[in-house]
């Protein structure tokens, strides 16, 4: 399988007056052509920072401290601003969380989508109105000829998200990063948007990184899932494997919190996500882990291979390895 993206040992820190926030702290993963990689984690797990870094949209005080982001073999972190600009929107595109604030209220939706073509093909945006109508039809916006002239405030949330999606697929990019694309929408609209992304993937062959805190959603749509905890990877595996046989204790806890049964208490994970300014020593999950043993508070687990899967837990590797 062709690798679209390869992230190696990526560390992104926020340098704040209160201290250094280790938002992403040594992350390695790949994305293959045409697949949907789901990234799941709680708020503050570093998943959105990771998304912005891959899209080349990090802004101060966020800073890449180490690592490489190889897109089709080129390290994005070593490119100039102009080289990045040519990739953004054309080869890597982004879909954001809250459609109502990610569109500019003072321009028509059609203009804002046409700007993508203007940026990469040149000429006036007016030349591309026809293409935008086609895109709108593709993302199932009703009455596209009229909607290109509508302003964001004249559209519903779901429709605005479709406009943002049409922007992201305009140039059929190799990689689309969707950061919580459905969190701000109604549940029924959520399902439609997810379905739409799936169709687009099949049609354009784009790989999609789908970021969400909604693990149940990922189990349905993702090919592979990466679980993040406190700036690190907990485990990566195929969606079926994660669902049936989770390896990491955190993944297990997440799954059991999903299995809701009547008259049974909701299985919450005790404790809360640690401070990323002074994370706990050793494995960052150990204070909340029911299976922690002595090594967990002393050493940081590496990513251990278990079959075709990757997991960061001493139960599966290291000197004091357990069952694996």
């Amino acid at each position: 399988m062709e690798k679209v993206l390869e992230v190696k040992n990526l560390r992104i820190y926020y340098e704040l007056p209160q201290g250094i926030v280790r938002a992403v702290d040594g992350v390695d993963f790949e994305v293959y052509k045409g697949e949907i990689l789901g990234i799941a984690g709680e708020s503050g797990s570093g998943k959105s920072t990771l998304a912005l870094a891959v899209a080349g949209l990090l802004r101060p005080p966020a800073k890449v401290v180490s690592g490489e982001v190889l897109f089709m073999g080129t390290n994005l972190l070593s490119l100039t601003e102009e080289e990045l600009r040519r990739i953004r929107g054309k080869r890597i595109s982004m879909i954001f969380q809250d459609p109502s604030t990610y569109l500019n209220p003072v321009y028509t939706s059609g203009f804002q989508v046409a700007e993508v073509y203007e940026a990469h093909r040149g000429g006036s945006w007016r030349r591309y109105v026809g293409d935008v109508v086609k895109l709108f039809r593709m993302v199932k916006i009703a009455d596209p000829e009229r909607r290109v002239n509508a302003y964001p405030h004249q559209m519903s949330g779901g429709m605005k998200q479709r406009v943002l999606i049409s922007m992201a697929i305009a140039e059929k990019p190799e990689l689309i990063i969707a950061d919580e694309p459905t969190s701000a929408l109604d549940v029924t609209i959520q399902a439609e948007i997810v379905e739409l992304l799936n169709e687009i993937r099949k049609e354009t062959g784009s790989a999609i990184i789908f970021i969400t805190h909604d693990l149940a959603l990922l189990l349905e749509i993702a090919d592979r899932i990466m679980i993040m905890y406190a700036g690190k990877i907990a485990e990566i595996g195929r969606a079926e494997e994660i669902a049936k046989d989770p390896l990491h204790p955190y993944t297990k806890a997440l799954l059991s919190s999903l299995q809701y049964e009547r008259k049974k208490r909701l299985q919450a994970i005790p404790g809360s996500i640690p401070s990323l300014i002074s994370p706990p020593p050793g494995c960052r999950f150990h204070p909340r882990c029911p299976l922690a043993f002595d090594i967990c508070s002393k050493k940081d687990p590496q990513l251990y291979r278990v079959g075709g899967r990757v997991v960061s837990c001493f139960l599966y590797g290291g000197d004091h390895g357990g069952s694996a």
Binding site: R88, D98, T101, Y102, P105, E115
Partner: protein
């Protein structure tokens, strides 16, 4: 819904404002101690002469009747006759208006030419030298009394260096000192508001979308930052021009600039009721007009405002 209709509605809505403002100033002018009849008659006049002048001017009638008389003459297009100059009030205002307009536009032009670039630049580069200059300028502009700046300017440029005239409006060079003084006052606010508005627009999410589309940084700045930042900037510019067109009272007085502001001061000192009333009425009118213009500009910039305006106009 046409623009003309919208403006017509806005003007109609302004009538109660105008009447209210007239009532307030009518009473206020008369609360001032001092009697115009006695001022005209002179200190040695007989009481019966003063009384005669009072009757001529209609000042012996009860206040509410005076107000009714004043209103009805305004409706007939007659703004009264100046007590001091014995000419129609409207002529006096029209004679001074070109000076005030020139000074106002010159000062605002200087302020905008410096404050907008400075504010924009310091928003983009908040740690630059320009940003510190902008902060200092805002602070100085906002906290220094204008008559003091004016007097310092006169001392430095007119008295010590003798390179610029200090008062009057005889040559084009006469406008330099009052315009720069006023501009300094305006710049502080304008820079601060511009900086804040641009910073806010820069931080908004749709700018992130614009970057992720692959737009160049200049296109992003002009289309997605500055256009969105324009509303607060236009508001403050409208207020400033409105205030200046009503006569920059202190500056015009310090530099003996023959505009509306110094005329107002003059008329108040002389208890020239019709003239003072006429000028204040004019100032209120200017503010209303400027407000309508800024609202139309908002609508031009922001489609959401446009919709609300049109809807309000239709009902």
């Amino acid at each position: 819904m046409s623009l003309a209709r919208y403006v017509g509605i806005r003007v109609a809505q302004a009538i109660p404002t105008l009447v209210g403002a007239m009532l307030v100033m009518f009473v206020l002018v008369r609360i001032l101690p001092g009697d115009p009849a006695r001022l005209i008659a002179g200190p040695e006049a007989l009481e019966q002469d003063v009384q005669r002048i009072r009757e001529q001017l209609g000042l012996n009638k009860p206040l509410y009747l005076q107000f009714v008389d004043y209103m009805s003459s305004i409706l007939r297009g007659d703004f009264g006759t100046s007590i001091k100059y014995r000419t129609p009030v409207i002529d006096e205002i029209m004679a001074r208006l070109p000076y005030t307009i020139t000074l106002a536009l010159a000062a605002e032009a200087i302020a905008v030419a410096i404050a907008l670039p400075l504010g924009i630049y310091s928003a983009i580069k908040p740690r630059s030298k320009a940003s510190y200059i902008a902060s200092v300028l805002s602070l100085v502009g906002a906290s220094t009394p204008i008559f003091w700046i004016g007097l310092i300017f006169i001392y430095v440029f007119a008295v010590s260096l003798r390179i610029l005239p200090s008062s009057g409006a005889d040559t084009p060079r006469h406008i330099i000192l009052p315009a720069v003084t006023l501009a300094l006052l305006l710049m502080g606010n304008l820079t601060r508001i511009t900086r804040a508005a641009v910073m806010e627009a820069l931080g908004s999410n749709h700018v992130l979308t614009a970057i992720s589309k692959g737009l160049g940084s200049r296109v992003i700045l002009v289309r997605h930052v500055l256009r969105n930042a324009m509303i607060p900037i236009i508001t403050i510019m409208g207020i400033q021009v409105g205030a200046l067109l009503g006569g920059a009272v202190i500056t015009e007085t310090v530099f003996a600039w023959p505009g509306i502001g110094s005329l107002l001061i003059d008329s108040l000192f002389y208890r020239d009721y019709p003239l003072a009333q006429g000028i204040i009425l004019f100032i209120v009118f200017v503010f209303i007009v400027i407000n309508i213009i800024t609202d139309i500009l908002y609508a031009y910039i922001d489609p959401r405002v446009r919709e609300v305006l049109w809807r309000a106009g239709r009902s």
